[in-house]
């Protein structure tokens, strides 16, 4: 694997991102709405209580869809050392990303136009898909090419 420092650094950062998302129930010291993790996530998330998971009775710092995206990014990033070789010069990571984004758009649109009502679990899953796809999309950049012997 190449760029292993970058991979390790980003892994630590994505892990922290997921841990911060867990909010007051994980970190303690205040209720969900006033917690520092809630403030930290406010630029990127609407943080509506009825669309968020609760941990230890406290609202998480992000809604279920954002939590899905962050968890998906982390899960995909963890898989890079294993999955990387299957992505080199392949089109499926891009296809996966496009499909995941389409599923996201369809899910949100269906809810906006009141065709169906999504749940916290469905929001989490449809969020996790594009997050996972973003990481997998980058996987080939961490794969070392085999050396070719010159004649």
């Amino acid at each position: 694997m190449k760029h292993h420092w970058l991979w390790g650094g980003m892994l630590a950062a994505f892990l922290l991102l997921v841990l911060f998302s867990l909010g007051a129930g994980f970190w303690g010291g205040g209720n969900g709405a006033t917690h520092w993790t809630h403030r930290m996530m406010s630029p990127v998330c609407h943080q509506m209580p009825d669309r968020s998971f609760f941990l230890e009775g406290e609202q998480m710092a992000v809604n279920t869809r954002c939590f899905g995206v962050f968890t998906g990014i982390l899960a995909g990033w963890l898989l890079i050392p294993v999955a990387g070789r299957y992505t080199v010069e392949k089109r499926w990571p891009l296809t996966l990303l496009v499909v995941a984004v389409m599923v996201q758009i369809i899910d949100v649109s269906g809810n906006i136009f009141q065709i169906w009502e999504n749940t916290n679990l469905s929001r989490f899953i449809t969020g996790a898909l594009p997050g996972f796809a973003i990481s997998i999309m980058l996987a080939d950049r961490f794969v070392k090419k085999p050396k070719i012997k010159q004649e």
């Binding site: 980003m10 991102l17 709405a33 403030r39 996530m41 080939d140 090419k145």
Partner: protein, 194 residues
């Protein structure tokens, strides 16, 4: 695309100073876009009759701004490869992405502060409109109270420096990820030495 990623021995030719215009231009443009979107939906919320719909202009603006600003890192890398040098390494792209996210957040926070000089009652009016909408929602009263408390806390107890200091890591990190995708899309793979 006639672009290629940096080779190891060409590292020195990556000028960090040369990346700043891309960071500033793209970060600046995206912060203005997010500020305008937030004002547009904000005043729409203020002037709309409360409907009790979950998809209020405020919620929509939050989702749209998040989606739009996530791609600033990718565009900053595209701008750099187009205008400065087609060569960029993955780590350099990540740095450009983080700084673009940070710059974007700082400028949009400054613009928000400036807007309060133009319309000092903006936050108060937004809060009232939001509460009126939540009150109309078909939800249990404790959930409504939580929603109102949570939003009131976020909107009222603000500090400029704290918003910037605490707010930078998340947009910075998300833009790092999209910037690395930008490197993949707009820069060629590094040549291997055999």
């Amino acid at each position: 695309m006639e672009v290629e990623e940096y080779n190891r021995d060409e590292d020195a030719s990556f000028s960090f100073a040369a990346a700043w215009p891309s960071i500033a231009v793209v970060g600046g443009i995206f912060s203005v876009i997010s500020f305008v979107i937030s004002l547009f939906f904000g005043y729409q919320q203020i002037n709309a009759e409360p409907t009790g719909s979950f998809f209020s202009p405020m919620i929509l603006s939050s989702a749209v701004i998040c989606l739009v600003t996530m791609f600033a890192g990718l565009i900053a890398v595209w701008h750099y490869t187009k205008e400065v040098s087609p060569k960029m390494k993955l780590g350099q792209g990540a740095l450009v992405g983080f700084l673009t996210g940070a710059f974007l957040l700082i400028v949009s926070t400054v613009l928000n502060e400036l807007w309060h000089l133009i319309d000092p009652e903006y936050t108060e009016k937004m809060m009232e409109a939001f509460i009126a909408n939540v009150e109309m929602m078909d939800l249990p009263s404790d959930v409504k109270e939580d929603m109102i408390d949570s939003t009131a806390q976020t909107m009222t107890n603000r500090s400029f420096l704290r918003d910037i200091f605490v707010g930078i890591p998340v947009p910075g990190l998300l833009n790092m990820a999209t910037a690395m995708i930008g490197v993949k899309l707009f820069a060629k793979k590094e040549e291997e030495s055999f």
